[in-house]
C-alpha cells in the first residue's frame, strides 16, 4: 500500500479512484502518565509517555483507514490528512482520511 499526502505519485498513474476512506480513534490518557506529566510541569521537557500515546493512537487510526482501503481493493491512498478534535477533557479524537485509489507504474 502506497501512502502519500500529495495528489500524485512520481512514476505512477492513477487507474481508478475508489473514494474517501477514513479511520478514527478516541484516546484518553491514564493516571500514571498524568502523575509523570505533573512532575514534568515543574522541570519542563519532553513528555515521552504522551508522545508514545499519540503516535500509537495515530497509527491505529491509520490502520483502520488502511483496512477500509484494502476492502475497496485499492493499492494506494492519496492526499492523506490527519485531524484531531477534543471530545471531552483529557481525551482526544485522532482522525485519518484520504482518497483510496488503484495506481500502476507508468
Amino acid at each position: 500500500m502506497i501512502l502519500v499526502n500529495t495528489e500524485t505519485i512520481p512514476g505512477m498513474r492513477i487507474v481508478e479512484l475508489k473514494g474517501i476512506v477514513q479511520g478514527n480513534t478516541v484516546r484518553a490518557k491514564h493516571l500514571g502518565r498524568d502523575i509523570a506529566a505533573s512532575f514534568k510541569n515543574i522541570v519542563g521537557g519532553e513528555l515521552k509517555g504522551y508522545t508514545e500515546l499519540l503516535t500509537e493512537a495515530r497509527r491505529e487510526a491509520l490502520e483502520r483507514m488502511l483496512a477500509q482501503a484494502e476492502q475497496l481493493g485499492a493499492n494506494a491512498v492519496l492526499n492523506l490528512r490527519f485531524s484531531t478534535s477534543a471530545v471531552t477533557q483529557g481525551a482526544a479524537e485522532l482522525y485519518a482520511y484520504g482518497t483510496a485509489a488503484v495506481v500502476e507504474p507508468e
Partner: protein
C-alpha cells in the same frame, strides 16, 4: 511567632518549585535548543517544502511514502507562574511561544530522521497538526504542547542521496 513559621514553610514550597523551574527548566530548554540547532544543520541538505507537488527531478523508481514525527513538550513551573501574571496584563507569552517553537521543530526533525532512515532525501507537503489531550482545557491540566508533523518523502535525482 508560630504563625510566621507556618507562613515561611507554606511559602518555601512554591519558592523551591520556582527555583527548580528556573535552574532545571532553563537548562533543559537551552540544551534542547542546542540539540535542535545541530540536527537542523545535519538535515540542511534535504529539500523540505509544504508545496503539494513534488520538486523537479523526483526519482520515479523509488516510491514516495508518508513520514511523520511527533513531540509533546511540557513547560516548567517558573514559566507557567510568570505566564499567569502575563495573562492578567495581556500581551505576548514569550515562554509559551518558545515552547510551541520547540515542539514544532522537534516534530519536524523526527520526520526528517524517518525520511533519511528510509532512504529519502526530500519531503514535500509538510503539514503541522496539534492535538489537545487535556493540556489547555483542564483546570488542573498540565501546560504542554503537542505537535505532529507529516509529509510525503521522495527521492530527488539531482541531489546526492545521503
Amino acid at each position: 511567632m508560630e504563625g510566621v513559621i507556618v507562613l515561611l514553610v507554606q511559602l518555601s514550597v512554591p519558592v523551591l518549585l520556582l527555583l527548580i523551574g528556573l535552574v532545571v527548566g532553563t537548562t533543559t530548554e537551552r540544551l534542547h535548543l542546542g540539540r535542535l540547532a545541530s540536527r537542523e544543520r545535519e538535515f540542511a541538505g534535504m529539500s523540505v517544502t509544504d508545496i503539494r507537488t513534488f520538486g523537479p527531478g523526483a526519482d520515479p523508481s523509488k516510491h514516495a511514502a508518508l513520514v511523520s514525527g511527533e513531540a509533546v513538550i511540557a513547560t516548567d513551573y517558573l514559566k507557567s507562574f510568570l505566564a499567569g501574571f502575563r495573562k492578567i496584563l495581556g500581551g505576548e507569552l514569550r515562554s509559551y511561544r518558545s515552547l510551541m517553537g520547540r515542539a514544532r521543530r522537534e516534530a519536524l526533525m523526527r520526520l526528517l530522521a524517518e525520511a533519511r532512515r528510509k532512504g529519502f532525501n526530500a519531503v514535500c507537503n509538510v503539514r503541522y497538526e496539534t492535538a489537545d489531550i487535556g493540556g489547555f482545557t483542564g483546570k488542573r491540566g498540565a501546560v504542554m504542547v503537542e505537535c505532529f508533523a507529516y509529509g510525503t518523502a521522495y527521492r530527488l535525482e539531482t541531489r546526492d542521496s545521503q
